[in-house]
């Protein structure tokens, strides 16, 4: 089950969804809005997505996970819009016969989601600044909502997406 929603994520429904008489293990991962990042306080987060592509990529992720592990259940839900501190932005739930596969599949799903699914987070800092988070991209000054902004940097995630990429020309 794949969903992108503006509503709070219903974890109980997700756990019911992936439950199965064939399952001996369930792993639920939640990404939650953290108050402090490198000591800087966050007031809230805004998530935006490219809906058609995000849904397609999430669906492809589930399909790929099902080729790698024998899943008795799988559900991925991403929330978009405004999130307060402590709220869950993403939930990944998988069930399997044995626990090793549930941990491995859950971790692979969230790791890969964070690399390839077109969803973006904006930090609304407590100091009034706001800033889109784009790992590897130094946000230029004009992209900041206030002047005290500081871009978050990190390795570019776009290097690992070749498996489902258009390469070469189409005609």
């Amino acid at each position: 089950m794949i969903d992108i929603t503006t509503q709070p994520i219903d974890t109980a429904a997700l756990l019911r969804q992936v439950g199965s008489p064939q399952a001996g293990a369930v792993v639920l991962f939640l990404g939650t809005a953290r108050e402090f990042t490198h000591g800087r306080q966050t007031a809230s987060l805004d998530y935006e997505c490219y809906p058609e592509m995000a849904l397609q990529k999430l669906t492809a992720l589930e399909a790929e996970a099902r080729t790698r592990w024998l899943l008795t259940g799988c559900a991925i839900v991403h929330r978009v819009g405004r999130l307060e501190i402590g709220e869950a932005s993403v939930a990944v739930a998988v069930s399997t016969e044995h626990r090793q596969a549930a941990f491995a599949a859950g971790q692979w799903l969230i790791d890969t989601l964070k690399e390839i699914v077109p969803i973006w987070k904006k930090e609304n800092w407590a100091d009034g600044d706001a800033q889109w988070v784009h790992p590897g991209l130094e946000t230029p000054p004009e992209a900041r909502d206030a002047t005290r902004g500081r871009a978050v940097s990190g390795p570019s995630p776009t290097a690992d997406i070749s498996s489902s990429e258009h390469t070469g020309s189409r005609r």
Binding site: E52, Q56, H78, L113, E115, P118, A143, G168, S169
Partner: protein, 81 residues
Amino acid sequence: MKVCIRLFAVARQLAGRDSIVLEMPAGSTVAQLRARLAADVPALAAVLPHIAFAVGSEYAQDDWVVSEGSEVACIPPVSGG
């Protein structure tokens, strides 16, 4: 041909709009779209080298040839999860 490019996150913010229509020669590649976008929307020039493109909801490399009517999107480095 007309190509509509959807803009998200910092690209949308810098451009001040959520899409832009470019008039491009038939057979244009993603690289050519990227160059035209930088020329037409200078606010995007600095970030465009770091922005991926998607055509029809799939990531597309620079040599990908865009067809008329394709859905094209700028995909800045993602930060979901």
